[in-house]
């Protein structure tokens, strides 16, 4: 699992997968635990958009509010994405610690392995954000087949 021509000895011998799991726990408790309860309320407040100055003829105020509206939109999006990224990072850390139970395994993990874990976590988290589509298979739903 080493690159071609790389005859160097194992790079890091003191990797402890439990530390990765601890990192995931820290993220979950401290980072996710900080963002998750706070971000939705902030998003609600900021997503209301510009709430004043609509009737003002002030050119300066309108110019400022145009920029400010953009700030609100992007900030709302950013808060959502930060939360998503933290979720993904927690999943990645958990998955790494689960996949590599020993330090040797973790040392030998390839970039492709880590990428796969990251992509899997991205897919998992993003899939959770997509509302399920109706399948038409409900008891009280019309039958199409």
């Amino acid at each position: 699992m080493t690159p071609d021509g790389d005859a160097s000895p194992p790079l890091a011998i003191d990797v402890d997968p439990n530390k990765v799991a601890g990192f995931a726990d820290t993220l979950k408790v401290n980072v996710q635990g900080t963002i998750a309860p706070t971000a939705p309320g902030l998003t609600n407040t900021l997503s209301t958009g510009v709430t004043f100055g609509h009737d003002s003829p002030s050119i300066a105020l309108q110019a400022m509010l145009d920029t400010y509206a953009n700030c609100l939109i992007t900030m709302t999006e950013q808060l959502k994405n930060v939360g998503t990224c933290v979720d993904i990072l927690v999943n990645v850390a958990n998955q790494i610690s689960a996949n590599y139970s020993s330090s040797d395994q973790l040392v030998e993990a390839s970039i492709g392995d880590i990428n796969s874990v990251v992509l899997g976590a991205v897919a998992t988290v993003v899939a959770k954000q997509i509302p399920p589509t109706p399948t038409g298979g409900g008891r009280n739903e019309p039958r199409y087949a």
């Binding site: 690159p3 004043f52 002030s58 609100l72 990428n115 399948t135 038409g136 087949a145």
Partner: protein, 468 residues
């Protein structure tokens, strides 16, 4: 930052009205900005601490995989910090603008109060008051000056607004572009995207799929849906469409050999229209019939009208009911006692040789069941069902023309003008007796739709004592 507002056009009452607005929502946003800053500061510092702790035992400088992982962490941390700074700047700017607005409002309200007092005194004909023009001009000038000053403050803080950078979820966390055939630690190649550098606002890519997931997968069955040549996607899951949604579906030819999985390509040109969707509603849009999860090929001209020995397209919504006569596979038991009436109309489908051309039926696959008694032959001609040979075959299609549908056909003909849709209409408008050779119960179904129960369980022989 921007042009000057001509405040001279506004007097005190008008300015007081402009400034008289509720700023509570904006003040809440000031709090939200600062809360966001605090949240992001806290989260980023905790993330940084956790990262540093992990880096001690998994040093990124010694492990390429750790480098990849920590790059993700670092990008997120950096994004949090950048957003925190932007939140602080925006909250600060909004705070000062709102404070200034409040101060301006207070001043203009004071002037407005004076204005009102002068007005009341003027109406009382007080002789010691100055001329109205004088005090109004003086008050207006003061109010306009306040507004101009407010504009300066607004311009000052508007320049400090910072549009936060949106961290793209996929691009940031899609770590590296891998060198092909990699199977071990190596130097990662940066994708060149997802940088959190300042000055560039990257769009969110929440819905983007990673590069490895470029094959669309049906969310229902997890299979990769077949792609039609028209670029549309069809799969059994996608065929489960709500009413009307089938109108936008590409078509696939009938292929019963692949139960529920038809993936034959059809060009848009061959995507013909079958008015009358599965639910029996009229439709002038392209549609398909869906049965058993299979997209059925529609007819080309909106169905077949067999009366008068001719078939014709029946354009327009009003004609679709008529076109629905030839909807395949849904004709139930057909009375046969009305043969003479059908003959009177000159039905050309006869025992000796059905004359509906293959061209008119070219969008129906050979073997398509036209009724309980008719089937479309391989050469495009209509043939009797094997079980119906010897029965009253020539009049089978005509029997589909029930009382209600004949009326709909006539309405369609009246709506679209004279055209050959098969049913002659008496100039008086009265229905000829032959148009309704039989009657069906009012309100009852004119067509019996066979119930296809896909989940019917057949235990098979030898089970539970069934001896077959």
């Amino acid at each position: 930052m921007s042009g000057q507002t001509n405040w001279a056009a506004y007097d005190v009452p008008l300015l007081a009205g402009i400034l008289d607005e509720d700023l509570s929502g904006a003040w809440e946003q000031v709090g939200a900005w600062f809360s966001a800053q605090a949240m992001l500061d806290d989260a980023s510092s905790r993330l940084q601490d956790a990262r540093d702790g992990l880096a001690v035992v998994w040093p990124p400088e010694k492990s390429p995989t750790a480098t990849v992982f920590f790059r993700l962490v670092d990008r997120l941390t950096e994004s949090m910090k950048t957003t925190s700074l932007a939140s602080n700047a925006n909250g600060n700017a909004l705070y000062h603008v709102l404070t200034n607005q409040d101060a301006t409002k207070t001043e203009v309200d004071r002037l407005h109060s004076t204005w009102s007092t002068y007005q009341r005194l003027g109406s009382a004909n007080r002789q010691d008051l100055p001329d109205a023009t004088e005090w109004q001009s003086a008050l207006n000038q003061q109010a306009q000056q306040h507004m101009a000053t407010a504009d300066e403050v607004i311009n000052e803080y508007a320049a400090t607004l910072v549009v936060p950078q949106v961290v793209p979820v996929v691009d940031t966390l899609q770590p590296q572009t891998l060198i092909p055939d990699d199977d071990g630690p190596q130097t990662p190649v940066s994708t060149g995207r997802g940088s959190s550098g300042a000055g560039t606002r990257l769009p969110a890519r929440v819905n983007n799929r990673p590069a490895r997931h470029n094959s669309p997968v049906s969310p229902v069955d997890g299979r990769e849906p077949p792609i039609l040549s028209g670029g549309e996607v069809t799969s059994p899951a996608h065929h489960q469409l709500p009413d009307g949604a089938a109108n936008a579906m590409p078509l696939a030819p009938l292929d019963d050999s692949q139960s529920g999985h038809v993936a034959t390509s059809l060009t848009p040109a061959s995507a013909a229209i079958l008015p009358g969707a599965f639910d029996g509603r009229s439709s002038a849009s392209p549609g398909v019939e869906h049965r058993g999860g299979v997209a059925r090929p529609p007819s080309a001209e909106g169905g077949v009208n067999v009366a008068n020995g001719a078939e014709s397209a029946a354009p327009g919504p009003s004609a679709n009911t008529a076109s629905g006569e030839a909807r395949t596979g849904y004709v139930g038991a057909v009375p046969t006692s009305s043969a003479p009436a059908s003959r009177e109309r000159g039905t050309s489908i006869g025992r000796q040789g059905p004359t509906i051309s293959a061209a008119r039926l070219r969008y129906r696959a050979p073997g398509t069941v036209l009724s309980s008694e008719l089937v479309l032959g391989a050469d495009g001609t209509i043939r009797p069902m094997p079980s119906q040979l010897g029965a009253q075959f020539p009049y089978a299609l005509s029997t589909v023309m029930s009382h209600e549908r004949s009326r709909s056909v006539r309405s369609a003909q009246e709506a679209i003008g004279p055209c050959d849709i098969g049913i002659p209409i008496h100039p008086s408008g009265a229905r000829r007796p032959s148009d309704s050779p039989w009657r069906v119960p009012t309100g009852g179904p004119t067509v019996l739709v066979p119930v296809i129960c896909a989940d019917l369980h057949d235990p098979g022989p030898g089970v539970f004592g069934i001896d077959r």
